[in-house]
Symmetry: C2
Subunit: 224 residues, 2 copies
DNA sequence: TAGATTGTTAATCGATTAACAATC
DNA sequence: TAGATTGTTAATCGATTAACAATC
């Protein structure tokens, strides 16, 4: 879905590495989507991929894909397609998210353990550098290579580790309090797995995960 | 992100309950999004909500929200806002997803347990009616009120329980095989938590969850 | 009444798409 | 060469938004 925002004027392609214009929300969302498929394709050993194949997996029109990419350079080879590895690097460069980013995880329950032990974040340059839990019995135990810490250490950890994202895998009742603590510690991106409406200042981005809503959406198109 | 599709012609508002036209992808996605916030607001005891508040939480322009809703009826009250409970029912009616839907869960690991024991699906009318795992040691154990079953029973369970959605919370190596089995059993919607590109017939919808990609997207707007 | 918020219009802007020349 | 696929144009269509009368 496009959520109304600033347009993307023609990008100056030869501005010695300086990012000239902010991408529109739509373009950034689609590029992220291509990145998802490309990362999976690379894992499966694919070397090239065509705009049509990307279209099959993302449901974005293939012309739109070629258009999005050609705005930043000529990355493809006619008759062949796009080099998977090279395109991943290009999109990461365009999104300026090529580096490593540190995240703090809250909640060492089933979901927290699932996140800590999976590669879903690591594959995209996100490192879980700290895991917190409110349950004193869990503090000190190990989850996915990390020692579970006391939430009282939050401010210190955020500063020392350079945490830019907080992931909330906690019950709804604990989410707002943690969000407040994260904001106070200077974190500006919160990924919320709990079923709560979080109140945060306007310069903080909250992304609330809603698999059930995604499912409802898919179901609508199935039923009609 | 809008992913190119059929448009939504003007809706005939007074066609005795019969759904006249299919919604556009954009409208359906936004309505699902409103539903997410409304469901959370209801949990928090809210009785009414304004289009501006919905806008704050969804980042959809408030005029767009009023426009989306007014296409189906006059649900709001000027000077007051929308009744939360009533609007949930209306959107569910519009999306034709007001009933209960049965889903089968694959994988009784951390993620599977997290899903089975949470209310994220139940809150939106999705019931986990079966949990499967390939590990024979887990079969027969109880997870979230369900007995873990053998994957060999898949076909039978889908038929008997009327499963319409399969949720894959399994390692990437097992995902494609299970997707094939689900398709063979007649399931047409697959929710994929694994990091795999699933090959399915064109009439099957696959939704692949990618929190890391969502995070990259959020990060882009934070960094620029 | 006064303030707030909806429902709706009209104008603009971006997304989408078909089509095709270029070229690998 | 023949087939495939990119890069790009031009036209259309839908999404977005400001503005404001209606009305609770």
């Amino acid at each position: 879905m496009t959520i109304g925002e600033v347009a993307a004027p023609p990008v100056d392609r030869h501005k010695d590495g300086v990012h000239a214009e902010r991408l529109s929300l739509g373009v950034a969302a689609r590029l992220s989507r291509y990145l998802q498929v490309l990362t999976q394709a690379r894992k499966m050993g694919r070397e090239t991929i065509s705009s049509q194949e990307l279209s099959d997996y993302t449901h974005v029109n293939s012309t739109q894909i070629r258009r999005d990419l050609s705005g930043f350079g000529k990355f493809g080879k006619r008759g062949v397609g796009y080099n998977v590895e090279a395109l991943i690097l290009q999109i990461r460069r365009i999104l300026q998210t090529g580096g490593q980013h540190n995240i703090a995880l809250f909640g060492a329950g089933h979901l927290g353990k699932a996140i800590a032990s999976s590669e879903i974040f690591a594959d995209h340059g996100f490192n879980v550098v700290a895991i917190f839990d409110a349950d004193v019995r869990k503090i000190g135990s190990r989850v996915g290579g990390q020692r579970v810490r006391d939430i009282a250490d939050l401010g210190q950890v955020v500063g020392e580790e350079g945490v830019v994202v907080g992931v909330l895998a906690v019950p709804a009742s604990a989410a707002q309090e943690l969000a407040d603590a994260l904001v106070a510690a200077g974190v500006r991106i919160i990924f919320n797995y709990s079923d709560t409406l979080l109140q945060v200042p306007s310069d903080v981005t909250v992304h609330t995960s809603s698999p059930a809503i995604d499912l409802l959406h898919a179901l609508y198109f199935y039923l009609s």
